[in-house]
């Protein structure tokens, strides 16, 4: 089994945050994490001296491969070369670098193929289930040359392994090797089932086979390393047990810092407990709801915001003045005939502009047709119904139509330029009045836009329920309410300017908008027409109590965690009762654990036992004679007889459960056999 990290940054580029490469740290990383192979993959660049320095120093400890991370059509892809082709690879990387420095735009697929002409030579690993993922259709275009993809979420690793249509997953550190990294050397690497790695051919063989990639050297499915000592957790649900001060929180903190590139939701102990007075707590909850309300409001008013943006710069006064000037000049020309002279008698003197033809719809049609024609994974289906030849002919004809309209518009533009310059020169010589040039079309469009805005604003201002949600027993009502007065509007905007005069026009949307423009910045205008209310009630429809507020917070945090890569929860029982944990949180956590690793620390039997975790960790503090306290960690499956530490020491799992969750076997027997039985029989 070999451990590889094929995504490492050693040169700061304009795509990286500031860091200074440390050769020593890289050595430490290779040594501490026992890496067998690393690839140097900097953004759109390959620095030969940097690679040589690394190879010379650490080439004997691990296989060092040359690589580059390329920006390709909006995604990222690692290109890794064999050391045998290094001189040629350097030239190709120089071409990538030249293109990147010239335009700062990603390569297109065809540019990429022109540079890396013989795709058989390289190992390609795109960002797959990760930020900056390469588009699926682009991966298809690579065909047999892409078989493996990088993922961040460890659950996704398992999903990819099980799903035949997905790429072979790999997890790499994607780290910047700086001196700071020594404190937290990454533990995101992949194990491959290979005896030796001397070339990329061996890696290619493994990365083309899902049965040869692992997160854990023991090859155990569904587990991955979370701590430096090799301790593994489940990609599903893991429970950390242990007495107080045995290192549970310390372990969670370590796990969090070991995955710096992951999006982790960490709910700390007592985080959700209300510590202030009832009034303070209510106020805090109100603030939380107003934050959610603001987000709901943004979503609801999103389209209205663009409507306002499209009319906010219309100046009705100027438009009216222009129209008045135009009509006045027509009247003047008609009445002041005595001023007509040789210049004003010419036809061009009062000529108006030629109107250009709009062709946005044709542009869109051509763009869509190009999308249909360009190669994609759906090409064979498309061609079954629409032969390529006919599509090409259609595109040709549409392009010709576009060319004709575009040419006509160009000729009209040139003609309008001649009319303008001639009119100006003639007017300079003449004393006769001239008809004002105005854009009548623009005036009509803007007038219509204002009418439409008023209709939309009147509709938005109606009071209505937007949504009724049920979030694990909490009833959430999202609705719109009209503003009652100017202070009500100010409350939403958080501003001090007086809106009293403007608010008098609240029922006349456009007049109200114009009055608001004088007082507040344009990007706030859309918030002034209606407010969005977000109300949380308990399952019986009443206001939530103090305990329910904390419960709602936890439910909401867990519900929001679906977008994360991992969830860590420290002793949730500190803030909640068992009934709530068993009835509501259990299902939510189990469901989350279907999608990402969830690690919960506890000494509560509801969580520790009733949640049926996939894996348990047991932390224990010990003090060796003459030494400072240290923590020991035992791990195993939920129903395993024994838990083991990394040195092979064993603990009986049953004792661990009894001591951690039940306060010892005697206490458990007493509760179950005497107290609960007595209470039950006393009925």
């Amino acid at each position: 089994m070999k451990k590889i990290d094929l995504h490492i940054h050693t040169v700061k580029t304009d795509s990286d945050a500031d860091f200074i490469f440390s050769l020593d740290t890289l050595g430490e990383y290779i040594k501490q994490r026992k890496l067998d192979c690393v690839a140097i993959t900097n953004h759109n660049t390959f620095v030969e001296s940097n690679f040589k320095e690394i190879s010379d120093k650490y080439g004997a400890s691990a296989t060092i491969l040359p690589g580059i991370e390329v920006d390709l059509e909006g995604g990222h892809i690692l290109v890794i070369s064999s050391i045998d082709f290094l001189p040629d690879f350097i030239k190709k990387c120089q071409l990538v670098n030249l293109k990147w420095n010239a335009s700062k735009t990603p390569l297109t697929f065809s540019e990429f193929c022109l540079i890396f002409d013989d795709l058989n030579r390289y190992l390609f690993i795109p960002h797959y289930k990760k930020d900056k993922a390469l588009r699926e259709e682009l991966i298809k275009l690579f065909g047999k040359h892409i078989f493996s993809g990088e993922v961040t979420n460890l659950k996704q690793f398992e999903v990819c392994k099980k799903n035949p249509s997905m790429l072979v997953p790999v997890v790499f550190s994607d780290c910047r090797i700086s001196a700071d990294l020594t404190k937290n050397l990454p533990i995101s690497q992949t194990y491959i089932d290979a005896d030796i790695i001397t070339s990329i051919a061996q890696i290619k063989l493994c990365l083309g086979d899902k049965s040869k990639v692992f997160l854990d050297p023991s090859k155990a499915p569904g587990s991955f390393g979370v701590l430096e000592d090799g301790t593994t957790a489940s990609t599903g649900l893991t429970v950390i047990m242990g007495e107080r001060s045995s290192g549970k929180t310390y372990t969670l903190n370590q796990i969090k810092s070991n995955f710096p590139n992951m999006k982790i939701k960490y709910i700390k102990q007592f985080e959700l407990i209300e510590l202030g007075t009832e009034e303070e707590n209510k106020e805090k909850f109100k603030k939380l709801l107003s934050g959610i309300q603001a987000l709901e409001s943004e979503e609801y008013l999103d389209k209205f915001k663009s409507t306002i943006n499209s009319i906010v710069d219309i100046n009705v006064d100027t438009n009216e003045k222009d129209l008045e000037k135009y009509l006045g000049s027509v009247r003047k020309v008609a009445f002041e005939t005595e001023k007509i002279d040789v210049f004003s008698k010419t036809k061009l003197y009062n000529e108006v502009d030629l109107v250009l033809e709009m062709h946005n719809d044709l542009d869109k049609l051509i763009t869509s047709l190009q999308d249909i024609i360009s190669p994609s994974k759906y090409t064979s289906i498309i061609e079954k119904y629409l032969p390529k030849e006919q599509l090409d002919n259609l595109l040709k004809e549409l392009l010709e139509q576009f060319r004709l309209i575009s040419l006509e518009n160009k000729m009209k533009t040139i003609t309008n330029e001649i009319i303008l310059s001639t009119r100006t020169d003639l007017q300079f010589k003449s004393s006769a009045p001239m008809i004002e040039r105005i854009d009548i079309k623009k005036l009509i469009i803007e007038s219509q836009s204002i009418t439409w805005f008023s209709k939309i604003a009147n509709s938005i201002c109606q009071e209505k329920r937007i949504r009724d949600d049920d979030l694990y027993g909490f009833k959430i009502v999202t609705s719109t309410k009209k503003f009652a007065n100017a202070d009500d509007v100010k409350g939403v905007l958080h501003i001090s300017a007086s809106l009293k005069d403007a608010f008098k026009l609240y029922e006349e949307p456009y007049a109200y908008l114009c009055a608001l423009k004088e007082k507040i910045s344009p990007d706030m205008l859309y918030k002034c027409f209606v407010k969005v209310e977000y109300i949380v009630k308990n399952q019986y429809g009443f206001d939530v109590s103090g305990g329910e507020r904390a419960e709602f917070n936890l439910v909401r945090l867990l519900n929001d965690a679906y977008t994360c890569d991992m969830v860590l929860i420290d002793e949730p029982e500190s803030s909640f009762d068992n009934l709530f944990l068993a009835s509501k949180i259990k299902n939510l956590i189990k469901d989350l654990a279907e999608k990402m690793p969830v690690i919960v620390s506890t000494h509560n039997n509801t969580i520790g036992a009733s949640f049926f975790p996939n894996r348990v960790l047991y932390t224990r503090r010990f003090i060796a004679p003459g030494k400072s306290p240290d923590f020991q960690i035992y791990s195993g499956g939920f129903l395993d007889t024994v838990l083991k530490d990394n040195k092979g020491n064993e603990l009986e799992n049953y004792s661990v459960y009894m001591n951690s969750l039940e306060g010892g076997e005697n206490q458990y027997d007493e509760r179950k056999g005497k107290i609960y039985a007595a209470v039950k029989n006393s009925r």
């Binding site: 008698k345 010419t346 036809k347 595109l395 392009l399 060319r403 003609t415 001649i418 009319i419 020169d425």
Partner: protein
């Protein structure tokens, strides 16, 4: 084909019926037709503007403005074509 000319100290244009008229009668539609013809063919020609050759001041102004722009069109014909096709230039290159 001669589209604009200076004859007997007058500035004239060729109307749509093939007769020469004073540029004082030139409309925007006449102008558009002339602009298109100059762009379309090199053989479509015109007398260059020469200061002092047209006596009527209004004709002089009109002739000067029109002729100078027509010279620009002749000189920049390729650039105009490129501007027209700019939006879909790759597609034009492929399907021409």
């Amino acid at each position: 084909m001669q589209l604009l000319r200076i004859a007997d100290e007058k500035g004239e244009f060729l109307d749509e019926h093939g007769s020469f008229q004073s540029v004082e009668l030139l409309t925007k539609d006449d102008l558009l037709r002339i602009v298109k013809m100059v762009y379309a063919k090199d053989e479509n020609d015109f007398d260059l503007y020469v200061e002092g050759k047209i006596k009527n001041k209004a004709q002089d102004i009109i002739y000067k403005n029109v002729a100078s722009k027509l010279v620009e069109i002749k000189t920049n014909r390729d650039q105009i074509t490129a501007e027209v096709e700019e939006t879909f230039k790759d597609a034009f290159a492929k399907y021409r």
